[in-house]
């Protein structure tokens, strides 16, 4: 177990290095990728550009030069000295400032989508073929198909006061939990559901089919033959086995959202978290923040995939961690 975790941590570091290198290479090969040209403006002279390149540390050329620049950037990131090209703010500092908002959004939405996903999937499977199942199936497909940006804008328009119809909820923004817990909750209700709705639909569908497969397993028949109650069979035997694949899905989806993946939701609701920071940086083609945010997100993905693997071994004793 310990050896497994140590080995995985080494693997994770390699993955993160590879991710950062790919991000870097992608950035400098895209058209207009040289930040110095963009910063220097339209009427810049070659000398202007050159001096900006030197200032940003972009004056190395060739393969080794690129490698050198990438290494410098990663080193700056990990020592906390990396600054944005466009406004010279510290990247690590900016991400840290975004974390409370992003975590608030992610954790709340994660609880909602996991809870409702399991509820909806279970009801749908238990009543398979009946009206409630059909209703849930239709609802889930709509939920999966709704674009987050559109749903978010629609909610803001109709119940968030922007359209002047109902002002049941605030029209975006984030209030820190430590400042006012009630307002924190109130401001996050719409973003939570906006973010959760796609996952609820998807998890519900996956769980429904898992349960319907598991119901036909021999061990469920054995549980029936033992004379267990219907509820106990459902929870202890059917649901327990059906939830194992959901653990994988949830681990990776939750990690992505924690790592700033809810870019659209954060932008629509003006929640200045890590995803919002990423959106801002994309608009200005600002490489250092994007590098920071990407690695931040990638870190959550690799950490949670390790957690998922460990959880698997706990949930299914046949699995050995090697």
């Amino acid at each position: 177990m310990v050896a497994f975790i140590i080995r995985r941590i080494f693997g994770m570091l390699l993955v993160l290095l590879a991710v950062s290198f790919i991000v870097y290479v992608i950035f400098i090969v895209i058209p207009g990728g040289n930040p110095a040209i963009r910063i220097a403006g339209r009427t810049a002279t070659q000398a202007n550009i050159k001096s900006i390149e030197i200032k940003l540390g972009l004056n190395h050329h060739g393969f080794l030069g690129v490698l050198q620049q990438w290494f410098d950037m990663v080193k700056a990131l990990f020592t906390g000295t990396l600054v944005s090209y466009s406004n010279q703010t510290n990247v690590v500092q900016q991400i840290k400032e975004g974390i409370p908002a992003t975590f608030s959004l992610a954790i709340g939405a994660g609880i909602i989508w996991l809870g409702f996903g399991i509820l909806v999937g279970t009801i749908s499977a238990v009543t398979a073929g009946k009206a409630s199942d059909r209703l849930i199936t239709a609802g889930a497909l709509i939920g999966i198909s709704l674009p987050v940006a559109w749903l978010g804008l629609l909610l803001l328009y109709f119940v968030g006061g922007i359209g002047g119809i109902f002002s049941w909820f605030p029209s975006g923004g984030y209030v820190p939990l430590t400042q006012n817990p009630v307002q924190w909750f109130y401001h996050l209700i719409l973003p939570w559901f906006t973010l959760a709705i796609l996952f609820i639909g998807f998890y519900g569908r996956v769980l429904r089919s898992n349960i319907l497969d598991t119901i036909n397993e021999d061990f469920v028949r054995t549980a029936k033959a033992k004379g267990l109650t219907t509820n106990r069979i459902l929870v202890k035997h059917t649901l327990r086995a059906s939830l194992i694949p959901i653990v994988t899905l949830f681990g990776l989806d939750f990690a992505a959202v924690l790592g700033g993946g809810a870019i659209i939701t954060e932008t629509v609701y003006n929640i200045q978290g890590v995803g919002w920071y990423a959106a801002q940086s994309i608009q200005t083609q600002d490489l250092p923040p994007l590098m920071g945010v990407t690695l931040f997100g990638a870190m959550f993905i690799v950490v949670f995939s390790l957690i998922v693997d460990i959880a698997y071994a706990y949930l299914d004793p046949r699995i050995r961690l090697t």
Partner: protein, 342 residues
């Protein structure tokens, strides 16, 4: 006379499927007394497993239709509610299944699964249930049960898992043990051990057994009475002696001919019954075995009733053929015609 535990009267089971109505069981009747073993034999699709599962109410579902009666100590189990049925399952009727590899839940310890059955019917605490589970594992021959009780199913071999299943089925001391092909998925040597175990535990636990198999060789060791099923019907029924020494249905001959025997001269090849069992959606007219029967004649276009046609009073069959004719011809099928040669 021993106490009668189970009486099945003209049980019919149908399933509605997309392809039509499947007549899985079309009228089966039997009685089971305490201490007796009833063997049910037949090919795949003959309705024997559906019969067994229906006794436990395991075939219930929106697409299933039942007729007839399954009287357990006078209560019709077909009529009781799903909730009431829970009190019978595991408690009055225990069941073991064909595949011990998949019949145990892989994520719970063996002991937990046995204790769960006990605690479903008796108000005992976890510790008592666990020590009962250890005792049961000892009774079914699991070595070192104090330690093995905490193993997961994947740490048990196939034979041990089936023993654990038997321990679970017997945990609440049921009056009837239903064994649905319990030996089919096991090695031959393990098969014999499991049959011996069921036979011994039946006496220890004072239960009756319904033993389902496609293997007449297995049933020869354990059954008192044998029912031969074909296409959802009983085609022959009698004591073990009747079925093995005076079989009346050509189908039974085929089954007998398909098992290797050491007490007879070796046939060139084991007998195989030509053709396939009929579709239960579209049954042939008349005798259901007619299309595969080498002895069929005109009269077989009408289905014979299950009747007594021989001297032994309890020996019933569904065959129009003359008894003496059958007695003169059946050895060709059963022994591969090598009797004369020997």
């Amino acid at each position: 006379m021993a106490e009668q535990l189970l009486e099945v009267n003209d049980l019919k089971v149908q399933f509605a499927t997309e392809d039509g109505i499947v007549q899985a069981v079309s009228g089966i009747s039997f009685k089971l007394e305490k201490g007796k073993v009833l063997g049910i034999v037949g090919e795949s699709g003959s309705g024997k497993s559906v019969t067994a599962m229906t006794l436990m109410g395991l075939t219930r579902g929106v697409n299933a239709r039942f007729e007839g009666e399954v009287l357990y100590k006078g209560t019709d189990l077909l009529k009781v509610s799903d909730k009431e049925l829970q009190d019978y399952r595991g408690n009055e009727l225990g069941m073991i299944f064909q595949d011990p590899m998949t019949s145990l839940n892989p994520v719970y310890r063996i002991g937990e699964q046995i204790a769960e059955a006990i605690r479903a019917h008796e108000k005992v605490d976890k510790r008592t249930a666990r020590s009962r589970a250890i005792e049961l594992l000892r009774q079914v021959g699991i070595p070192n049960p104090e330690n093995r009780v905490d193993d997961f199913p994947h740490q048990f071999s196939g034979g041990m898992r089936q023993r654990a299943m038997i321990a679970m089925a017997l945990s609440c001391n049921p009056s009837i043990l239903i064994a649905d092909e319990p030996t089919t998925a096991l090695d031959v040597t393990i098969q014999a051990q499991i049959v011996d175990l069921v036979s011994r535990l039946k006496d220890d636990f004072d239960s009756a057994v319904v033993f389902i198999t496609h293997d007449l060789g297995v049933i020869a060791e354990i059954a008192d009475e044998i029912i031969v099923m074909y296409a959802g019907r009983v085609v022959e029924r009698g004591s073990k002696r009747d079925i093995f020494y005076d079989p009346q249905m050509p189908y039974t001959w085929g089954l007998l001919g398909s098992i290797p025997r050491l007490d007879r001269p070796r046939a060139e090849r084991l007998h195989t019954i030509e053709g396939m069992p009929p579709s239960l959606i579209n049954l042939p007219e008349g005798c259901k075995f007619r299309p595969r029967c080498p002895h069929a004649f005109e009269k077989c276009m009408q289905e014979p009733e299950l009747e007594n046609r021989v001297e032994a009073p309890g020996h019933l069959d569904r065959c129009w053929l003359d008894v003496e004719y059958k007695r003169s011809r059946r050895d060709e099928t059963i022994t591969g015609g090598t009797v004369e040669a020997a």
